[in-house]
Amino acid sequence: MNKIFTTRKLSYFIAALFLVISYSCQPDDENLPEATFPDIAEVFIDTFSAGLQYAAFGTSKVTAFDVDTDITFEGTAAMRFDIPNTSDPEGGFAGGVFTTGVGRNLTDYNVLTFYARASKGETINQIGFGLTFEGEVFRTQVNGIQVGTAWQKYFIPIPNSARLTQERGMLWIAEAADDGSSYQLWIDEVKFENLNTIIQESAEILNGVDQVTGASAGNTITIDGTSATYNLPSGILQSLTTTAAYFDYTSSNESVATVNEFGVVSVLSDDGSSVISATLNGLDANGSITLMDVDASGNVDDSENTEIMLPLGFESATLGYNPVEFGGAPSAVSGNPQVGGLNNSGNVLRTQKVTGSETFAGIIMDLDVSVDFSESEQVSALVFAPAAGTTVLLGFEDGAIGQASQVAATATTTVANEWQELTFDYTGTTNTATDYNRLVLIYNNGTAGDDSVYFIDDIQLTDGDGGGGGGNEGDNLLENGDFEQGMVTWFGNAFNVQEDGGNSFNLSDNEVSGNPFDVNLSHPVALEAGITYTLSFDASTSMEDGSRTIIAGIGLNEGDFASATEIVTVTSETQTYTLTLTPPAGSTNSRVLFDLGSDGGVLVLDNVVLTTEETMNEETELLTNGDFEQGMITWFGNAFNVQEDGGNSFNLSDNEVSGNPFDVNLSHPVTLEAGVTYTLSFDASTSMEDGSRTIIAGIGLNEGDFAAATEVVTITSETQTYTLTLTPPSGSTNSRALFDLGADGGVLVLDNVSLVQN
């Protein structure tokens, strides 16, 4: 069969070329008014419709397309793609664009339909319309359409027909064989229709996430993550990836920010706040950007807000802040008891813990927008208390679930009757799946009230340092503080590295011993006497054990073993513990130590980080979410797919070979300077099945000619750290760290991407 087709295909291909030429040579009809675009519905019925041309993607197998007169759904001809073997030296995939020289007016249609079948069951990687070689303002695509050996009708809805007044991109396709071996795909009766039986179910911008960001005049934010979901005539849902230009955008305050028709937000002013939202065909899209205002005095001004959310300044006259007391702590928004200093704003939240109250008396207050801990797991607040040593418990939970979903942190005042900024650290305890839509506040938890009055204001997420200790490898004095290198470096009888979902940690379970140090775990490090170190680590015990104590610290590993330690109580909930320690003696033969023998039970230990002031700024990490711990933000590209396992987030992709290496890609924005040398490092692995694969990694421009410095790296099924030294040929603030995956196929697990200037 194939051999016969080869000959015939050639003749058809020539015929197709001829068609293109003949159509493109047709003179314009001089009788048509200049600004009128035809509303022709047909794309391919039995032949190319008027003006239609085909051009293959340059890196595809360019001869893959043909017109078939033997196998058709209806009529005399169908389109046929001979999808090549993915190893075909002439191109491992088939694909291209069907365009018209003159744009068509598609405003009367709401869907592109076609029939398709294949010589074997297959998944079509990408098919859509709105793509030309000159532009893709209104590109759409459906990923992963299933095609079988029987003809079936397919639907690609037009997200917003009103936009397509002169569209040239009629159809495009990119397809590589699922299993790598060639097959044939037929497509017939391609046309635009207007069907009442397509129901738009939902639409999304920003992947449906409500983002909150500080407003900085002069910034632009490009809205992406746009898609829509349709209920097809067959009663199933189908998602459609669209460009942002199909949506209608609104800024709630155009003096603060405007949005253009392509979804580019321009921040005009730092004074005030604005919510950017979108609709698609009149349906509200999920996802928004809230530009927050922090006023000149540094105090939170939420007076223009339409929803109760962080940052919370209690300044709005219209929002119904509703603190609900429990146990005897009546609360209300009131005037600032001491304007000036840290707090110049007018209104604050007042709470009185009345005499005879429950020891746990406090308030809950519902938020309209859940707290997004993805960029920061620390909250700061201004507190005004009548005594130093007042403890302030600030928690967040899902109001529908209650305490079981709560994260809470406690901070303590050190001054009386003065505004003071306190920081509440939730590092490692928040869950991205939880809606933290309720605030919980308790003063002096555990002590009954005495009519004391407390004030709080300016509750806001801090800028964040990425949280989850261990993220900044360059700072950590410990080689294997996160145990990811396995059973090395550490020593002691409690040393027992376990791995779960790609994350390694130490797991011990001990009885109470005679000496605390009878059960121990240590990591060698050089210490200097008199210098202050910060030791942080994540720890938990089992549910059964509930809580236990450990001794943690730093000290000599020789002589008198002089050390600086603290007793830490570990609970069944993983928390990050941070100790500030100054060792009495120094030596290159020193260690970080954990002595466990004074109490019994399970101990899970991870992400042990030891830093000093001196090491903090040795190398500045240029990537804000290089370890993916902040989730689905900052990075972009079609290979962006953050997964979380055992508290560690990483990017997981699995791709086919594509025409261009950059067809499958993942990038992190960064500012680069030309001629400066950078070090890019990352942890990567592929699956056991794939064995090994190559990727292209590097840094370069995210605009213009995309000039980049890259290297091809071979990744194996064993996680390794790869370090590249790169000097970009050009620099720009619109640059990126990039991973192009399309040149080879397979799974790629990527984590701990770091870029520093040498």
Binding site: L195, N196, T197, I199, E201, N231, P233, S234, G235, I236, L237, Q238
Partner: protein
């Protein structure tokens, strides 16, 4: 809608029936019975979230026997999440994808047994149907003396001998098609006597339609929005089988099944939850 698991058979046979039925005279006419008196009406007025009126309605709870005889996947409940008034004059049955009592879906099925029963007349309801692959809504009737558990009581009669009239049922993957059927001994399950109406470029799950039958001693007529699209005569049942629709009053049922032998199974891309929104249910008797 059938309530016992019956081997599918007679597909060709039902096709023949269809062909015969399509030759009926008066198809497409709006002419029905003229001497009708309204005897029962539930407009489902009440507050949002309120339960239905249990003077008229009973709840079927659980998974029945073998998924109500059809390998259906849902657990029927009487929770407001699955059946309640919407505060705008409608009753809503909601099929949900949720783990509940070992089932992967929940929904509701209500009936008027022993509360509202009638022989002959017009039975109608205005409904916006649910849709989605594997979703199976129905507005239907059963003979009042149906035997629900095997017993020796001569006063109860097993299905299909008791008779079943499906005013409408739909396969969610064919949201354009309503199917009206009767089931009796010798013409049940896959062999039921059916008629279908297909909307052109519209969907039953996108808007309200009025589904009705007119049941007389001579025939059963099927209507959509007041237009008759099918008539089943006594002569349409197979030779040698009994017409079981002259013996007793029938009660009504409204339900949304998920999965089952009639509809197939839902898939991940099935849009859920799905709602059957019922504006009213009415019964008219035939006057003298």
């Amino acid at each position: 809608m059938k309530i016992k698991n019956v081997i599918l058979k007679g597909i060709a046979y039902s096709l023949i029936c269809m062909a015969v039925l399509s030759c009926n005279e008066d198809e497409g006419s709006t002419i029905g019975l003229t001497n009708l008196n309204l005897v029962f009406e539930d407009d489902f007025d009440g507050e949002a979230g309120a339960s239905i009126n249990t003077e008229f309605w009973n709840f079927d709870i659980g998974t029945g026997n073998n998924g109500w005889g059809n390998q259906e996947l849902q657990y029927y409940t009487d929770r407001p999440e699955n059946v309640s008034l919407d505060g705008e004059g409608n009753m809503v049955i909601t099929a949900r994808r949720e783990n509940f009592q070992g089932a992967a879906f929940t929904s509701a099925r209500i009936n008027t047994r022993d509360k509202v029963e009638q022989q002959y007349g017009r039975f109608e309801a205005r409904i916006q149907m649910p849709g989605g692959r594997g979703v199976w809504p129905a507005f239907w009737m059963l003979g009042s003396n149906i035997e629900t558990e095997p017993d020796d009581d001569p006063a109860t009669i097993a299905w299909p001998f008791v008779g079943e009239i499906d005013i409408t049922e739909m396969r969610g993957q064919e949201p354009f098609r309503t199917i009206g059927s009767i089931h009796g001994p010798g013409y049940s399950g896959g062999g039921a006597i059916s008629g279908e109406l297909d909307l052109i470029d519209e969907r039953f799950d996108a808007e309200f339609h009025e589904f009705a039958i007119e049941w007389s001693p001579d025939f059963i007529d099927y209507f959509i929005d007041g237009v008759r699209f099918n008539r089943i005569n006594k002569s349409d049942i197979p030779n040698g089988t009994d017409w079981v629709f002259d013996d007793q009053p029938f009660f009504m049922l409204l339900n949304v099944a998920v999965g089952g032998t009639f509809v197939g199974f839902p898939v991940d891309a099935t849009p859920l939850p799905q709602q059957m929104i019922v504006d009213y249910v009415r019964i008219y008797e035939i006057g003298n």
